[in-house]
């Protein structure tokens, strides 16, 4: 970008003032447009929560009414009476926590080895992890399902958890982090006669706390939202997780809209609220995940 003519010092205070006013005006305009967008994002959530408190008659009125005449928890009570919602919620929580933790336990050491150590077969093994990221689920889901059924794991939590322990994505995320870590600290451990294990445990892992927290959150969220694999391998309603549970709830019981929205509200709010507190971690991981491809 070259300047075509020299900048003349112009004492144009009035022009400056008008420029400033225009800048303020454009800021207000941006704010207005962005607020409009934010309303488009938030209004559906508001509608969901309001509907969860309406009577069926109120929910089916046209033109719709915004506020329920009486704020009652009847829909929530009916939700818990119709399906084992609490159990599904609990199933989702503990399996997501467990799988995310197992992901970290298996991925952190592997990512460290791929980033720092040199060993035969390194490219091949790392390539396998990348391959698992590239291959679409439509390809692997059929053989893995047949394998699970062969092993007698169908409709068990084992079928859900075991295939998810290793995560190519978590390995890749932590690999990126370890690779960016300065080498000097570990070198000093190694020169002092420490082993790679000492270097990993006392230098690399403490330094990676933030990256590991981000990877854990990302993995937790992925499992919390995971739909197709639980849909295929879990069948009995006491083993169902929230996403599939909500869908089967709608299909089997043909419940009315307010009860359905009560279920949607209760399954949406926890992560939305938690997200407010950890959003930085999560979006950082999401930015790195852009590479996942």
């Amino acid at each position: 970008m070259t300047r075509s003519e020299p900048l003349r010092p112009e004492p144009l205070t009035r022009r400056d003032a008008s420029l400033k006013a225009r800048a303020r005006g454009s800021q207000a305009g941006l704010l207005g447009l962005l607020t409009l967008g934010a309303v488009a994002i938030l209004l559906p959530f508001v509608w969901m929560i309001l509907t969860a408190f309406k009577t069926p008659a109120e929910a089916y009125t046209w033109p719709p009414i915004w506020l329920p005449a009486k704020w009652s928890l009847a829909n929530f009570t009916q939700l818990f009476d119709t399906i084992p919602f609490a159990r599904m919620f609990f199933n989702s929580v503990w399996t997501s926590v467990l799988i995310a933790s197992l992901n970290i336990l298996s991925a952190a050491p592997a990512a460290y080895a791929f980033a720092r150590l040199r060993f035969p077969g390194q490219g091949l093994f790392f390539g396998s992890h990348l391959l698992s990221l590239m291959i679409p689920w439509q390809v692997t889901i059929i053989p893995v399902f047949l394998l699970i059924r062969q092993l007698g794991w169908y409709d068990s939590f084992t079928a859900l958890i075991v295939p998810s322990i290793a995560s190519g994505f978590t390995v890749f995320l932590l690999f990126q982090f370890f690779r960016s870590l300065p080498r000097s600290l570990e070198e000093s451990v190694l020169i002092d006669g420490g082993s790679w294990f000492t270097a990993l445990r006392h230098v690399a892992l403490p330094a990676a706390k933030g990256a590991i927290a981000a990877a854990w959150l990302f993995s937790f969220l992925g499992n919390w939202q995971s739909f197709i694999w639980p849909l295929i391998v879990l069948q009995s309603s006491e083993k169902m997780l929230l996403p599939v549970g909500l869908l089967s709830f709608q299909n089997q019981y043909s419940v009315n809209i307010p009860v359905l929205m009560a279920g949607a509200t209760l399954s949406t709010l926890p992560t939305v609220i938690a997200y407010m507190f950890v959003q930085r971690y999560l979006t950082d991981a999401a930015i790195t995940s852009g590479l996942k491809g």
Binding site: R3, S4, S26, L30, L31, L33, L34, I41, L42, P44, W47, P64, P109, A110, A113, F114, L117, R118, Q122, S128, L131, S132, M134, I135, P136, Q138, V139, T140, I142, P143, F145, L146, L147, R149, I165, A166, G168, R179, R183, S195, F227, I228, L242, P243, L247, M261, G263, A264, T268, T271, Y275, M276, Q279, T283, A286, I287, T288, G290, L291, G293
Partner: protein
């Protein structure tokens, strides 16, 4: 983000004595063992198995018979497969350009805000749908898209008579696209924001001194600088949209009729409703070839663009 350096780095330190080397190899194999076993058992071997299954007529229970490339030949002539492909492509054309354009616009607007806390607020709000359970928000949108729902109410204010979105073959794919854009634009926004933050500020100052208008600054500075990210978001959205599954399954179950049955949904039904594992595997490979092709194109471009390192 990703840079051009090779993925597996070679340690800078000098070659150590052979016992040290052996110790390093042993240690490394131990560290990668759990993860590698999992990846081999549930990703690498299944890929090979899937290729094998795709040349049989296996139903999943009886003995599989080898049928050669029959399944692939069938797929190319199967009217339900081609119609699933055309539904998917219509959806891609509706959702991908709209989604990329909207998230780019919103990101540029957020980036131009002076108050930092407002940037955080908007980024957080726009990302919200990404942290929800897909089925829950899809059920919500089923309510919003009903003939007498919130969407048609808002359209009514604007003087537009809204269609029966999910009940008409013509409007069901646009409806799914609207839902996906609402749900997914946060992903593009945060990637664009990260990229926009890396554009050197002095470029804008220089342009301002030259009397460039805001749009010109965008066209000649911002856009070229973030073009690798635009391409990345475009490819990621394409890959996601070509596999659209959950949204159509919940919103319309592929209907009315077959009018919103996409490729991924057709593969799922072929395998798990009709138990044609061999045929479904062949279909999955045809889809995989398209998706992997896109990823390869993205990787090639990634190394071509120097700007990429600045993301």
């Amino acid at each position: 983000m990703q840079n051009a350096a090779p993925l597996v780095t070679v340690p800078a330190r000098k070659r150590r004595a052979s016992p040290m080397r052996r110790q390093e190899t042993l240690m490394a194999l131990l560290l990668i063992l759990p993860s590698t076993l999992g990846i081999l058992a549930f990703a690498v071997l299944p890929i090979a198995a899937s290729l094998g299954i795709s040349v049989t007529n296996w139903g999943g229970l009886s003995k599989p018979n080898f049928v050669g490339l029959q399944n692939y030949a069938t797929a190319l002539q199967d009217p339900r497969a081609t119609s699933a492909l055309s539904h998917t492509l219509i959806y891609v054309l509706l959702a991908v350009p709209t989604g990329v354009l909207i998230s780019l616009t919103l990101a540029v607007w957020i980036n131009n805000l002076k108050a930092g806390w407002l940037c955080t607020v908007f980024r957080t709000v726009y990302y919200l749908p990404m942290v929800t359970i897909g089925v829950a928000v899809a059920l919500l949108w089923q309510v919003l898209l009903a003939p007498q729902g919130l969407v048609n109410l808002v359209l009514g204010w604007l003087g537009v008579n809204g269609p029966n979105w999910l009940g008409s073959p013509a409007w069901v794919l646009p409806a799914v696209a609207i839902f996906s854009v609402w749900q997914g634009s946060g992903q593009g926004i945060i990637l664009f924001l990260a990229s926009l933050a890396s554009v050197p500020k002095d470029l804008y100052e220089a342009a301002q001194l030259d009397g460039a208008k805001p749009f010109e600054a965008f066209r000649f500075i911002t856009l070229p600088m973030i073009s690798p990210t635009v391409f990345l978001v475009l490819v990621l959205s394409l890959i996601g949209a070509l596999q659209v599954f959950e949204a159509v399954l919940v919103l319309s179950a592929g209907g009315p009729g077959d009018s919103s049955t996409t490729v991924a949904l057709y593969i799922y039904k072929t395998a798990f409703t009709f138990f044609k594992m061999g045929y479904a595997s062949a279909l999955a490979w045809l889809l995989a070839v398209i998706l992997i092709g896109l990823m390869v194109i993205q990787w090639r471009n990634q190394s071509k663009w120097v700007n990429y390192d600045q993301v």
